[in-house]
C-alpha cells in the first residue's frame, strides 16, 4: 500500500462518518439541527483560523461578514428571485470586498492585537445599526425568505439534511484551503507575521498584502456561509450582525489551537455539541446553568492547554503518520 494512502486513511474514515451521520440520526430531528449547527461553527472557526490563527490578527468581525452574506443572498432572492446558489457567491464577494475596504487602512496603519480586535468588533455593531436603519433591505422586522417544501433553486428544504451536506462541502473546501495555504508561501508569510511582523517584513514579507489576502479569503467563506444561513433559518434580520457569533467563532479558533488546521474543527465538535447538549439537558432545570458549565470548561482548557486542544490532535496525528511511514 502506498504511504500516501495510509496517511489519508484517517481522513477518509472521518469523511465516511461525516457523510453517514445524518442517517444515524434520522429518527431525531433535534440531533440533525445540532449536527448542522456544529459544522456551521466548525466552518466559521476554520475560516477564522486563516486570519486569526495564522496571521495572528484577532478578528471579531465574523458576524459582519456573515450578515453581509445573508443580506446579499437573501435580498437577491426576495427581491429578484435570484437563486441563492448565485446569491451565496455574490455574498462572499461582497463580504470580501468589504473586508478589503476595512483591511486596507487597518493593515496600512499596522493595527494589531487588542486594537484590531476592538476595531473589528465595532464593525459588527456599526453594520447592525446601518442595516436596522436601511429600510430598503433591512429594517427592524424580519424579512422572510419565500417558503418552499423542497426547492433546489430556492435552496429551501423541509429537512436539515441537505443543509448539512451543503455546509459539509463548504467545510471540506475550507479545511483544504487551510491546509493548502499553511504549506505554501502565503501560510509561511502569515505565520511569520503573526510571530513577529517587523522581522518578517525585512525578510521580504509584504505585511499588508499578505494580511489582506488572508482577511478576504476568510470574509469570502463567511459571506458564502451567510447565504446558507439565511435559507437555513428562513429569514434575514439585522441581528445577524451578531457580536456573540463573532466572539464564539474566535473562541473556537483559540481553543482549537491558533494556527492548527484541524483545531477549530475539533473545538467546534466538542464545545458546540457539548454546549447545545448541556442546554438541552440542564437548561430546563436552571436557565443559563449550561453557560456556567461551558465557561468553566473554557477556563480549564485555557489553563491546561493554552496552545489549544488541537495540539493534542496534532501530536496524535504525528505519531500515526510516522508509524504509517515506518511500516
Amino acid at each position: 500500500m502506498k504511504p500516501g494512502f495510509k496517511k489519508l486513511l484517517p481522513l477518509l474514515i472521518l469523511l465516511v462518518v461525516a457523510l453517514a451521520l445524518p442517517f444515524a440520526m434520522l429518527s431525531n430531528q433535534y440531533y440533525l439541527i445540532l449536527l448542522t449547527t456544529v459544522i456551521l461553527y466548525a466552518t466559521l472557526a476554520s475560516a477564522w483560523n486563516i486570519i486569526g490563527g495564522m496571521a495572528g490578527q484577532f478578528d471579531l468581525a465574523a458576524g459582519a461578514y456573515l450578515g453581509l452574506g445573508a443580506f446579499t443572498s437573501g435580498t437577491l432572492l426576495i427581491r429578484w428571485n435570484i437563486t441563492p446558489w448565485i446569491g451565496m457567491i455574490a455574498g462572499g464577494l461582497i463580504a470580501a470586498a468589504f473586508a478589503f475596504l476595512v483591511g486596507y487602512p487597518l493593515f496600512r496603519f499596522k493595527v494589531r492585537e487588542v486594537w484590531y480586535a476592538l476595531s473589528s468588533a465595532a464593525l459588527v455593531m456599526v453594520l447592525r445599526v446601518v442595516f436596522m436603519m436601511w429600510e430598503q433591505v433591512g429594517g427592524p422586522t424580519e424579512r422572510y425568505i419565500p417558503f418552499y417544501d423542497w426547492s433546489f433553486y430556492h435552496l429551501r428544504f423541509r429537512s436539515y439534511i441537505p443543509y448539512y451536506y451543503l455546509i459539509l462541502i463548504i467545510l471540506i473546501i475550507t479545511l483544504w484551503l487551510n491546509h493548502r495555504i499553511r504549506n505554501r508561501k502565503l501560510g509561511y508569510y502569515l505565520l511569520a507575521l503573526g510571530d513577529n511582523e517587523e522581522a518578517a517584513e525585512i525578510l521580504g514579507v509584504d505585511a499588508r498584502g499578505s494580511k489582506l489576502k488572508a482577511l478576504m479569503i476568510y470574509a469570502f467563506i463567511v459571506g458564502v456561509l451567510g447565504g446558507v444561513y439565511a435559507c437555513l433559518y428562513g429569514f434575514i434580520h439585522p441581528n445577524f450582525f451578531s457580536s456573540t457569533i463573532s466572539l464564539e467563532v474566535s473562541i473556537l479558533g483559540v481553543v482549537g489551537g491558533v494556527g492548527i488546521t484541524y483545531g477549530p474543527l475539533l473545538a467546534a465538535l466538542i464545545l458546540v455539541s457539548g454546549r447545545e447538549l448541556l442546554r438541552a439537558n440542564v437548561g430546563g432545570q436552571l436557565e443559563s446553568l449550561y453557560l456556567v458549565i461551558y465557561a468553566i470548561v473554557l477556563i480549564v482548557i485555557a489553563l491546561f492547554r493554552p496552545q489549544g486542544i488541537g495540539s493534542l490532535l496534532q501530536k496524535a496525528w504525528e505519531k500515526l503518520t510516522t508509524r504509517a511511514a515506518e511500516e
Binding site: 505554501r184 508561501k185 509561511y188 508569510y189 505565520l191 511569520a192 503573526g194 510571530d195 513577529n196 517587523e198 522581522a199 518578517a200 517584513e201 525585512i202 525578510l203 521580504g204 514579507v205 509584504d206 505585511a207 494556527g259
Partner: protein, 243 residues
C-alpha cells in the same frame, strides 16, 4: 574611476520628540567591504539601522541603495532590492521551526518549487541541519542568532546589516560567528555592515569603521586609525582618559 557605493546615506536625521537620535549623518558602504558601525550605548546606531531598513521613516536626508532612492519605503521592498538585516534583541519566529523560519526568507527569491532546495542550502551552510525541525523558542541564544542570520541570508541579499550579533556569546561561539561572517563574504559575496560592541569582532573583521556619538558621526577610518582617534577615545572613556 571611483566605484559607486552600494549604500549611501546622506544627511540622515531622525528624532523622537525633542530627542535627536541621529543627526545629519552621512556615510557610504562599498561593495565587498565589511563596515563596522560603533559608538557608546544610545549613540543612535540602532536608530540609524532602523531608518536605513525602512522600519522608521527618517525626518531628513536620503538613503540610496544601488540605483534606488529607498528613503522611507517599506521594508519588504528594500529586501526585494537586496538588503536584509538581523535585530539586536532577537526577533525569532517562536512558533516556527528552524527550517520554517529560514523558508520565510527563502521565498524572497524562490518560488514554491525551488524553495526547499534553498532552505536545505542555508541549513547546510549554517550547520543547522540537526536543528531543522526544532521550534525556535526552544533554542539557545547562539543558535537563535545563527537562525536569524540564516533566514536573512536566505533572502539572498547583497548587503546584510547585523545588529549586535556577538552580544552575549562566549569565546567559542564568537569565533564561530566570525568564521561564518568571513565565509559569507567570500563564499556568498555579501557585503556586511555590523553594529557591534564586541571589539574583538569589530577589529577582527571590519575593513572600515564609522563611529557615532550622540547621534553624530565623529570618526571614520580603518581599525588602526579608529583605535588611536582622540575623539573616539573621548567618547568611549571620557576626556580624562586623554590627559
Amino acid at each position: 574611476m571611483q566605484d559607486q557605493p552600494l549604500l549611501s546615506v546622506q544627511h540622515l536625521t531622525k528624532s523622537f520628540g525633542s530627542l535627536i537620535a541621529v543627526n545629519d549623518v552621512s556615510f557610504a558602504i562599498h561593495r565587498d567591504e565589511v563596515l563596522g558601525l560603533i559608538g557608546p550605548n544610545g549613540a543612535g546606531k540602532t536608530t540609524l539601522f532602523n531608518s536605513v531598513t525602512g522600519l522608521y521613516k527618517p525626518d531628513k536626508g536620503e538613503v540610496r541603495f544601488k540605483d534606488h532612492n529607498i528613503t522611507g519605503i517599506e521594508p519588504y521592498r528594500i529586501c526585494k532590492l537586496g538588503m536584509s538585516r538581523t535585530f539586536q534583541v532577537s526577533r525569532a519566529f517562536p512558533t516556527m521551526t528552524v527550517a520554517e523560519a529560514v523558508r520565510v526568507g527563502a521565498y524572497n527569491r524562490h518560488e514554491e518549487r525551488e524553495v526547499e532546495e534553498q532552505v536545505r542550502r542555508m541549513l547546510t551552510f549554517f550547520q543547522l541541519e540537526k536543528f531543522a525541525s526544532k521550534k525556535c523558542e526552544d533554542l539557545g541564544l547562539a543558535l537563535l542568532r545563527r537562525v536569524e542570520i540564516a533566514r536573512a541570508v536566505a533572502t539572498e541579499p547583497e548587503l546584510l546589516l547585523l545588529d549586535e550579533s556577538a552580544a552575549g556569546l562566549n569565546a567559542t561561539e564568537l569565533g564561530e560567528l566570525m568564521d561564518m561572517l568571513k565565509s559569507l563574504r567570500t563564499d556568498q559575496d555579501i557585503t556586511l555592515c555590523i553594529v557591534e560592541h564586541v571589539m574583538k569582532m569589530v577589529m577582527g573583521i571590519c575593513d572600515r569603521i564609522v563611529v557615532l556619538d550622540y547621534g553624530e558621526l565623529i570618526a571614520e577610518g580603518n581599525p588602526e586609525q579608529i583605535s588611536s582617534n582622540e575623539r573616539v577615545i573621548e567618547a568611549y572613556l571620557g576626556k580624562r582618559a586623554l590627559q
